[in-house]
Symmetry: C2
Subunit: 457 residues, 2 copies
């Protein structure tokens, strides 16, 4: 007799992961190392230690240790909002009349509204452990900044956030959440940093970009005693922390004997997708199983589907290490009509390498079709999803409809990374019928590829 699967599978607290899982340990061909933009040599721990906390540097550079223990203090914090539920989307299946079984790992049930908190608390913890006074960071849509503010408030660390100006203006309430958690929030580009002033001089009317806010946050950290810079995505340490998503999902599915056929996640910098797929990809790399992994990105910022696999700057101001990744060039500025996150020009080096090895499929989707899926999902499953997460919903629905045609009873797992409570201007545009799509032309991409540095590696 088959066990009945509940609407929501919650693990008990003692089933939560005790270690972060480092997928690089199971990769035969590893992601390329970060490079010093001056010497074009791999960044050393010492060099990275000027910008990042030392424990995080060690995690960033470690591509051989598969399991890294999660400190008790971080696990205590996780217990306040984790384990997150693995949800069986019974209602969605019913409405779609699909034979597919749809599951989603829901990371939105915390005040940061997303999975970002998983890495924020880890990064803040290591900063505190090192005796630092504070950290700086950038935030685009605002989820990462909120998450870091929460983690810093909990640990009594100072938190300085550079928020992409267009988000700062469109999302005053995100800013207010961060302030409630005691953070200092500055719209970027700002006059408080040299790189900010330079960018403002060149582009006085710019509404900012993630790459530019990163440059400002790094400069701010370097200019203060006892501060380091932290980043919410892209870096391998972030994917490491986010592996709690995939580990919990896999444990929950294993308990009920469910094997996902398709695993879908949205991909901006890659933190959610990398974390969700990590243990499954590990199993595949070890030859234990095979899965169909799909990365979903916005057609307006198509780093995987139309980018180049090359060394590039991680930020606009070129103050960060260079990373080998799928990228549109650090000069790429996503169209202003693009709502929500997933605006980063590059992609996690881990995911880039896995994609280059043909282990992940990538799809680009347009935002009106994403919001159509979001609204459909909201009405059926009750949860108002973040625009980012809705990219994964779009493809999950598409795959479920394919199963309806073929009659296949596939298990589809997707990452529902967050809620859309701070994205209602975008929903309003969709409701009003004023939302538009944008696909960059080949010429535009050629122009931004021209900003790629010449690195012969």
């Amino acid at each position: 007799m088959k066990t009945e699967i509940p609407y929501k599978i919650y693990l008990s607290e003692n089933e939560m992961p005790t270690h972060y899982y480092n997928v690089r340990a199971d990769m035969k061909k590893k992601p390329a190392p970060l490079l010093n933009p001056g010497t074009l040599k791999p960044m050393t721990a010492e060099e990275l230690g000027g910008v990042f906390c030392s424990d995080l540097v060690a995690q960033e550079l470690d591509d051989t240790t598969a399991y890294i223990a999660i400190p008790d203090e971080i696990r205590s914090f996780y217990k306040m909002y984790r384990p997150s539920p693995l949800v069986r989307a019974y209602e969605l299946e019913k409405r779609l009349q699909t034979p597919a079984h749809i599951y989603y790992k829901f990371e939105g049930n915390n005040t940061s509204g997303s999975h970002k908190l998983n890495s924020a608390i880890a990064q803040a913890y290591y900063a505190k452990k090192q005796g630092l006074r504070g950290v700086t960071t950038e935030t685009g849509a605002g989820q990462w900044g909120t998450a870091l503010s929460m983690a810093c408030a909990y640990l009594n660390l100072d938190c300085r956030v550079y928020m992409v100006k267009v988000s700062y203006e469109q999302k005053p309430f995100r800013r207010e959440v961060m302030r409630t958690y005691g953070a200092t929030v500055t719209p970027s580009p700002s006059m408080t940093t040299e790189v900010g002033r330079r960018i403002l001089q060149e582009h006085p009317n710019t509404t900012g970009s993630l790459g530019c806010a990163i440059s400002e946050a790094v400069e701010d950290a370097l200019s203060r005693d006892g501060y380091r810079y932290v980043l919410g995505s892209v870096l391998s340490q972030v994917l490491l922390h986010q592996s709690v998503i995939g580990q919990e999902a896999k444990t929950a599915m294993d308990k009920y004997g469910i094997v996902p056929d398709i695993i879908i996640g949205c991909a901006g910098g890659g933190s959610n997708l990398g974390g969700l797929i990590a243990p499954f990809m590990g199993a595949q790399l070890r030859g234990e199983n095979r899965y169909h992994f799909i990365a979903v990105e916005p057609a307006s910022c198509p780093s995987l589907t139309r980018g180049r696999y090359a060394y590039d700057f991680c930020d606009t101001g070129n103050v960060c290490p260079m990373a080998k990744m799928y990228t549109l060039g650090s000069g790429f500025i996503p169209s202003a009509n693009h709502a929500g996150g997933l605006r980063y020009h590059g992609m996690s080096p881990i995911l880039s390498e896995l994609y280059d090895q043909g282990l992940i499929e990538a799809r680009a989707v347009e935002q009106t079709s994403v919001f159509e899926a979001a609204e459909y999902f909201a009405r059926v499953e009750g949860i108002l999803p973040a625009p980012e997460s809705s990219h994964a919903i779009r493809v999950a629905i598409d795959e479920a409809l394919k199963c309806k045609e073929t009659g296949e009873e596939k298990n589809i797992l997707f990452g529902l990374t967050g809620t859309g409570y701070f994205d209602l201007i975008a929903y309003q545009n969709y409701n009003d019928g004023t939302m538009t799509d944008y696909i960059p032309t080949d010429q535009e991409l050629e122009a931004s590829f021209a900003t790629l540095p010449k690195v012969d590696r």
Copy 2:
């Protein structure tokens, strides 16, 4: 050996309540009946059926059946977001250095952001079952309107919401969530109803009130074929549905052998407090146990602590039945500086009667002290609470600090009804130091008491 209590106690889906619990069945002295404002006689089922769905009328009038089965369709919907967690506030206890054990039942993990969804789906279900085309309602802070929109979208019912104008303007994003769920949202008072036009003529600059929005919603329902009016609080049917909160909390506590000494909830119309305490109050009324119940209300709208226990109109336009309740008079308009909900001039007749019998303590708290507690809680426990819920947090902290003085290891349970993601203007005022308190003078209350009808019962 004592079982260790996890951070969050989740019931399994088959431990969720199968019946609503009707506390009136265990009350020897029942709440007074609703009266027809014309005849001053108890409202009959037929009279009520013109305004409300028939199954809900039956529930409203039934004060003897203790357990009413929850239909499967409603239980399926509940499974999408329930059971809600009973959380042990370990971190809060640690920071307060209190020997008290603090628990909260968290109802905010759904897109409506509050417990309101528990009754919204029930009311929408009965409307659908009756073959109605749609429902009308009012909303103040917006939680109820959002909840009803979600329930109606799920059941494919039309939903027409009259939103208190000040909230409509201050919370455009709440409105947008409702629109995303397909609801029509009208700021109240409006020119679309007779009562709205009358109120606007008398008070052209009014920013609206809950009592006024109720009148408009009722008139709207009466003017359309296949529509009924639904209400998110005050009515006994609503407390009945909300009993799922208390039942889940009690089951979870029973499982771990925890008996709450103090049970705290915020009280506006009484839906959350009534639902949270119902099964505990039932046990006390049956002589099985004793608890210290505390209702917390805003000092700016003090219906229990300074109101009169009398028959009053439920709405400003006097189109609804009259209820015997603790009330400030239907002419009472809460101070404009008051943030969030809990603005209703009256109180649930059930809670009013229990309070009158001395079974509940009531406390009024001022809003700056409420936001101080809210911010403290957010930073320690991670969740950004709704202003309404923060009234209960304030008193839970006060009681925990008393335990610190006396050394008592009391079990404190409070209702965390919702999240504050749509209340950030209020948080901003608090962060900016511009938030003020307001306590109505005796003269002001005398003036609003003068609006009480003369009913000799």
